[in-house]
Symmetry: C2
Subunit: 392 residues, 2 copies
Amino acid sequence: MSITSFNPPIRTLMGPGPSDVHPRITGAMARPCIGHLDPAFVGMMDEVKTMLQYAFKTENQLTIPISAPGSAGMETTFQNILEPGDTAIIGSNGVFGGRMKEVTERCGAIPIMVEDDWGKPVDPQKIEDACKANPGAKAVAFVHAETSTGARSDAETICKIAHNHDALTLVDAVTSLGGSELRVDDWGIDAIYSGTQKCLSCTPGISPVSFSDRAVDVITSRKTKVQSWFLDTNFLMGYWGPNAKRTYHHTAPVNSLFALHESLVMLQEEGLENSWARHYKNHLVLRAGLEAMGLSFVVEEDYRLPQLNSVSIPDGVDEAEVRSRLLNDFNLEIGAGLGALAGKVWRIGLMGHTSRVENIFLCISALEAVLIDMGADINKGVALYAAQNAMK
Amino acid sequence: MSITSFNPPIRTLMGPGPSDVHPRITGAMARPCIGHLDPAFVGMMDEVKTMLQYAFKTENQLTIPISAPGSAGMETTFQNILEPGDTAIIGSNGVFGGRMKEVTERCGAIPIMVEDDWGKPVDPQKIEDACKANPGAKAVAFVHAETSTGARSDAETICKIAHNHDALTLVDAVTSLGGSELRVDDWGIDAIYSGTQKCLSCTPGISPVSFSDRAVDVITSRKTKVQSWFLDTNFLMGYWGPNAKRTYHHTAPVNSLFALHESLVMLQEEGLENSWARHYKNHLVLRAGLEAMGLSFVVEEDYRLPQLNSVSIPDGVDEAEVRSRLLNDFNLEIGAGLGALAGKVWRIGLMGHTSRVENIFLCISALEAVLIDMGADINKGVALYAAQNAMK
């Protein structure tokens, strides 16, 4: 065996995540490791909590990073809130709504599925109907920003409906946190999870979560134990919680938390609302270029996420070949479609540090070059000009 | 809010983990992120699997890193192997055996506890008796290297007993992997998990696991679904497994895997058996110094882990004050006792990159200085000389 050090190619990451990581963040990650009970580390943990509250727009005390990726964040919210026999109404309009069903069933709980077409938002009226048809449902769950389609659902309205029916709200904000409007307290979100590798532009592997006091009451008065010892917030509160003596639970991923800390410092420096505005403004530039080329967006403008752009593939074009050429010839990664949209769309991410005009120009120029070379029927020579104009 | 970048103090980590991380490893971690489905990343994943097989001494195909710390590795093995109603015999001689009980119960399975004193190894005869008393037990589980005490159990003998009774073997090797003899295939271990932050000297946050073909057969023929979607190896095999089309399951912690890759390259460069020998040799140096000072070891020599040294505290000494002074005055971290040994021992780690003579000299010198200053009854001025002599 003679395996040597791995030096990754230098890519521009415009897929559905991970997004480009700012060198300040990888630099922070490379700082010397310290102990997970070191007083200096405990101080940093408090700062991470404070900055996560800022990013989520919440005062929830239980606002912490889970030591695993967003999928584990989903399990943390569902496993802590749901007990065997509970009913959860799940609004599903893409891959991650479907995953919520799987996770709910594995909790021994009963999912009531409310389906909407992929690319459409979750329909609040259908959620209302489901709440009426299932009185006593413990929770309403849905994805705020569907990473598989780029559709944004109206979290505020859905949460109001759920609360009117006395249900807790469980929300997936993996792709929205830091990139578009998200207000945990104002909207009445009871349990939310996100990821670090999207609009926070941090390295993948950590899942920020937040639980309302109401959710904490439900968790601390459970009749059964949380299935996962690792994700049991009753323990996590002992290590992360307010005024807690820091009780060892598991070894925290110290360097990954250094990185998260730095990404949150950067978010704070830019300002949360400024970050939302930047993501939207850059979406307009990308949109102008792609539409001028003749490509169209899958999601209607009213519900389109600026940070995750699902676009149609020109007729007769081998979409995988296009992605492969972009990667090999331009070191540019864009995403494939997932699930029902596999083979039908590309997903172009403009998340976090990726959301910069220089990347958009590269994407438009390279995509146009590849499509022309492959003989695709697109409008030639107009895309970059349209994008430049959209910057004004 | 005006939180600024976090710059950790530079510590020497001689606690129970994390251990000192070599700059080559943090340097690898800081390389630019790439996509988790990038062909270059997929190639690196194959190398990680090959090198983990080397470290575990196994040819198990299902040998992969779990995207979360060692506690999640424990849940991965238990949740995948055990179904509700199954019986598991658990040898417990410290904190982590106790945690196995918790995790087993949360799987809906029945733990049969075989208790040994903290600091002693798991007694094979008691395991044999438990197997006889519980025919049909699905698994025998135990901790190979108890991080809470520093005791090593005889994994080979216990596995033989378990197999004689047709039970699978589940083994915690968080503290042994890379630091002392461990032979997954020769010893007949069916499911094993470890951590990156101990003798691999990598950053914390990833848990290498390995499953025998027999264990995989059990997993793929389960009657019930694995409780955790995130830790379900049926899915993980699709992303990591042999000859698999790399199917997206969750976003891999890309940069943390860069770090793991580099740590395994370094292990391979040193040679696994050489690493075991280095850990043992350095233990002898530390032992000579501490015993000359008048401190004694909690674990008998035959079962003592060279990488995790539990030592007695001199009478009348405030042990927390000692640790605090070492940290503040010398930037040296040593570990407190845990559980039944809290307040009774210090745990001095010599794991991975920490296991170097320069660190041992620092530890002995600083500990002696603090103890003398606090008026402890120790032998003065002889420890370092004894340690130096033990290097010969």
